[in-house]
């Protein structure tokens, strides 16, 4: 028995060692180890022991552990065939529709999907790279390819949506789909710190600390946070985030958990993306400009960061790693003026109305575009792509919608009935929140606390849970109204919502 186990560990280690060689980080680790071996800290007699000790002292040990941690996370998520064929079919059709609408927009506007920029255009764009808000483009004819509402309509067809008729019961639930989602009891087991009523940041930072030596909870979290950050071990930091990060440490901690620290190599890669933006004009660029203008530029919380967001979003569209890690396929189109084809867009991501909101809250953590870029990309590859593609993944938008429905029906039955009576599909009033992970809806400080929980528990179930908690909080007002427009009005302003107390209340046993 023991020997089989040993063999298994040995095989895993061998496989890992092989895989590590393919990672970009390998070369630098290898040369660091070589340097260590030749240092006086490592001796020939006790080679293994002394090398391990030296690696620990140098922090190489943590680096190696984090590398394995991040590698393991990317495994097993390779796109397997979707078990629900109806869903994968719908997903394909939806993407075809998007591409078709891109193509027809292109022919309407008599432009091409991809073309080489002229010399003068390149120069102007280069010169204005740091203030792209002044780069004049006529965008009046460009419209977002789709909005959350359009995407919801597609999702509703999945469940065999039949409009309400008097004879028939409304059949708009996602519950027709044979997908497994958790119930509240199971969520309580995941968010165990929250459901146990442990003190969390985001409730009252001046609450007295239970740990000796700290006056307030906030001081305690800062003290502990500084220690885990210095340790630098990603899984430990992730654990720390479960109870909320102090704003002053968040930038550091998030980048450590995501393995998104910026080194020379990352800067070079970003510059390459920038170069590709400057050289090739993709039709998608205009859609990106349009989206930043429609969202961030008009928002009093984000308008100051407009120029930063243009850079980040444009570079994102050129990033082939996004395509390979979050998506599997994209259009390929010829580049006019160059004898080659390109994936369109290279990231495989066609922005919808509000896509920029996936990146905006990071502006409160990073003012350097490169750092901002890698955090945004990290979040996108881990989470956000699941919110705007059709899949059966338990973290995918379909499962989240189903979870929302189940929670609402089970725990707010009167609201559920009210929605039925006024013939409004309850997902309609919250869908844009879930699809945008509440960005642009909650004020940034609250949003960052919510995203702490996403990163800390490494799952998105907190989004539908918060949606239900908000409805529950405002239910008396919802009972007073009976049109979609008025329900939307009741829910329009979330500026007074305190995310953490609301969620903790929902998770704690009564």
């Amino acid at each position: 028995m023991e020997s089989i186990k040993d063999d298994a560990i040995h095989n895993t280690a061998m496989k890992l060692a092989e895989e590590l060689k393919n990672l970009s980080i390998y070369k630098s680790i290898y040369s660091d180890v070589q340097k260590l071996v030749s240092s006086p800290n490592v001796n020939k007699e006790d080679f293994k022991q002394s090398l391990q000790q030296a690696m620990k002292e140098k922090g190489l040990d943590t680096k190696l552990r984090n590398t394995v941690f991040h590698w393991v996370r990317t495994q097993g998520k390779q796109s397997k065939l979707d078990p629900l064929t109806s869903l994968s079919k719908a997903s394909l059709q939806w993407e075809k529709r998007i591409h078709k609408s891109l193509n027809s927009m292109c022919s309407d506007l008599e432009t091409s999907l991809a073309k080489i920029r002229s010399q003068s255009e390149q120069e102007e764009l280069t010169e204005k790279w740091n203030e792209l808000s002044t780069y004049s483009l006529d965008l009046s004819k460009y419209r977002p390819v789709y909005a959350p509402k359009d995407f919801l309509d597609v999702l509703l067809t999945l469940s065999g949506y039949v409009p309400f008729t008097r004879e028939d019961e409304p059949k708009w639930e996602f519950s027709h789909l044979p997908l497994q989602v958790k119930n509240l009891e199971q969520l309580r087991k995941i968010y165990v710190e929250w459901s146990n009523g442990e003190p969390l940041l985001g409730v009252n930072p001046n609450m007295p600390s239970t740990v000796p030596g700290f006056a307030t909870l906030e001081a305690e979290r800062i003290g502990l946070g500084e220690r885990v950050s210095a340790l630098g071990y990603a899984p430990v930091i992730q654990e720390f985030l479960k109870k909320g990060s102090p704003q002053c440490l968040r930038a550091k901690l998030w980048s450590q958990v995501l393995g998104a620290e910026v080194k020379q190599q990352q800067i070079a890669y970003f510059n390459q993306l920038q170069k590709s933006v400057l050289e090739v004009d993709l039709m998608i660029d205009k859609l990106i400009f349009k989206d930043v203008q429609l969202t961030a530029s008009n928002d009093d919380q984000y308008f100051v960061f407009e120029d930063l967001l243009y850079q980040v979003m444009l570079c994102f569209s050129r990033d082939g790693e996004v395509l390979s890690r979050a998506r599997s396929s994209a259009l390929t189109v010829p580049v006019r003026g160059r004898n080659e084809r390109t994936a369109f867009p290279p990231s495989g991501v066609v922005p919808f109305h509000g896509f920029t909101m996936y990146a905006t809250p990071f502006c409160y953590l990073y003012d350097d575009p490169v750092q901002l870029y890698y955090i945004f990309r990290g979040f996108y590859i881990r989470y956000w792509h699941r919110l705007h593609y059709i899949s059966t993944h338990p973290q995918g938008i379909v499962s989240l919608c189903l979870l929302y429905e189940r929670l609402l029906e089970a725990h707010e039955p009167l609201l559920w009935i009210h929605f039925r009576n006024i013939n409004i599909n309850p997902i309609r009033v919250v869908f844009k929140w879930i699809m945008r992970a509440f960005s642009g809806h909650l004020p940034p400080d609250q949003l960052l606390l919510l995203w702490d929980a996403i990163l800390g528990y490494d799952c998105l179930e907190v989004l539908p849970l918060l949606a239900v908690a908000i409805l529950s909080f405002r239910k008396e007002n919802i009972f007073q109204v009976n049109t979609l427009q008025n329900v939307d009005a009741v829910l329009a302003d979330l500026s007074t919502i305190s995310v953490v107390p609301l969620l903790q209340l929902a998770l704690m046993k009564s």
């Binding site: 740091n130 203030e131 808000s133 002044t134 800062i222 102090p246 704003q247 002053c248 968040r250 930038a251 530029s297 008009n298 928002d299 009093d300 919380q301 308008f303 100051v304 960061f305 407009e306 120029d307 930063l308 502006c363 409160y364 953590l365 990073y366 003012d367 004020p443 940034p444 400080d445 960052l448």
Partner: protein, 432 residues
């Protein structure tokens, strides 16, 4: 405060049994701004004209001066309040503010107060100057034409620096320009009508060292507009409104000489920026102070952010102390000041000016919500718990009526407790 203490507080003023009809507050206003009118209406106040028996007057500074002038012969009774101090200009006129702060520092120095400590500092231009350690919160400023020679002397010390000229009596960015050459100032003085003969010119100017290293966010310059409510100058009682905002320029900050005349780069006044092509009417270039704090804590860390906000409170308290001895501390008066503050890239705040009639025009939806709250909270701080103006009240609002105001300073309590809680939230009003 619990129900019982509330009751005793009310009976203290003998108002519990006053019939409803006689309690009605009559208000008078010189401007029918919606954030004012909706607040008055919500309190079911009754609007009257200036000649009627008013209890609460929202007056322009001019009306206020007229009312208090000797010629008017108007005497207010105990149930009347007005929103300005008669000589508010000691704080709000750019030249007088500078004069008062200079005098305040000298007085402290003479007393040998540790607050007036001086030290040598190295400017980012390289030269070494002597500055107050704790009270160096206004840029070096001179009044023109009176201090012209002193200005020239200072100018010669660092001839590369840029200076900003502002007419003393004007607001909203009118008449402001930058100079970086003495010749330009001379040219201006020739063109303007004899401004160097004080007896001939009505208008005096202040010239201040231009803060050419402002903190930029998204590459843009901004200043802070904070609201400070003063209910008494002796003892000093002042409150800071939490919901201030940052006003951003619409174009990137650029110190090059060619942009020196482009006021869209340098002035943050909404009244200036509004005319720029890039003005956005949805957010109006305004971001909340809470979000500024979030950004600074997230990108610069906690300690420096805390220090910055503490120095802002410090600056406000001492600017008020600088004028407290010269203010006519009429007990019918209170005033809400608009403080304009610029933060430099070392995260040091600088007081630019104080406005006695901050704009109540709402440029955006959020602006309207914020200003409505400002007026609402202000009314509950300045009025006794029963809501009827009464100058015999001790001007100690309970903590619930503070709303979004934080107590900055209440000298009455400092004297009593012998505490040093200046600008701290910990000063609690809880009178037995």
């Amino acid at each position: 405060m619990n129900q019982d203490t509330k009751k005793t507080a009310v009976t203290l003023y003998g108002r519990v049994n006053v019939p409803q009809e006689r309690c009605r507050v009559n208000f008078c206003t010189d401007m029918e701004k919606s954030v004012l009118m909706s607040n008055f209406e919500r309190r079911s106040w009754h609007q009257v004209s200036q000649d009627d028996e008013w209890n609460f007057y929202w007056a322009s500074t001019q009306t206020c001066r007229n009312l208090f002038s000797v010629e008017s012969g108007y005497r207010m009774n105990d149930n009347q309040m007005i929103n300005h101090f008669p000589n508010h200009y000691e704080l709000s006129r750019k030249d007088l503010l500078v004069k008062n702060i200079k005098r305040y520092r000298k007085d402290l120095e003479r007393e040998g107060s540790p607050l007036a400590e001086k030290a040598e500092v190295v400017l980012h231009g390289g030269q070494v100057v002597t500055r107050y350690v704790h009270l160096d919160f206004i840029p070096v400023t001179f009044v023109l034409p009176a201090d012209y020679n002193m200005f020239v002397e200072e100018y010669r010390k660092s001839p590369q620096s840029t200076w900003i000229m502002k007419p003393c009596g004007k607001s909203q960015g009118t008449g402001i320009f930058l100079i970086n050459k003495l010749s330009k100032l001379k040219k201006w003085s020739r063109e303007a009508k004899a401004p160097f003969h004080p007896q001939l010119s009505k208008e005096s100017y202040v010239i201040s060292r231009y803060i050419d290293n402002p903190l930029l966010i998204g590459g843009k310059k901004f200043d802070l507009r904070l609201y400070v409510l003063v209910t008494s100058f002796r003892p000093l009682k002042a409150y800071l409104f939490q919901l201030g905002f940052c006003r951003f320029c619409t174009v990137k900050y650029d110190t090059s000489v060619t942009e020196l005349d482009n006021m869209y780069v340098h002035l943050t006044n909404v009244s200036v920026q509004k005319h720029g092509g890039d003005y956005n009417s949805i957010h109006g270039g305004k971001m909340s102070v809470q979000n500024l704090r979030l950004f600074l804590e997230g990108t610069r860390g906690r300690a420096v952010t805390e220090t910055l906000f503490a120095s802002i409170q410090w600056l406000i308290v001492h600017s008020l102390k600088a004028v407290s001895s010269v203010m006519a501390n009429d007990r019918h008066c209170y005033e809400c000041y608009g403080y304009d503050i610029i933060i430099d890239n070392q995260l040091k705040p600088w007081l630019v000016e104080v406005n006695a009639s901050p704009s109540l025009t709402s440029t955006t939806v959020n602006d309207r919500i914020m200003k409505y709250k400002l007026i609402d909270n202000m009314l509950s701080v300045v009025l006794p718990p029963d809501g009827i103006p009464d100058v015999r009240w001790n001007k100690v609002p309970n903590s619930e009526s503070l709303g979004n105001f934080d107590l900055l300073i209440d000298e009455e309590f400092i004297d009593k407790d012998d505490g040093t809680n200046i600008g701290g939230r910990s000063v609690k009003h809880s009178k037995k």
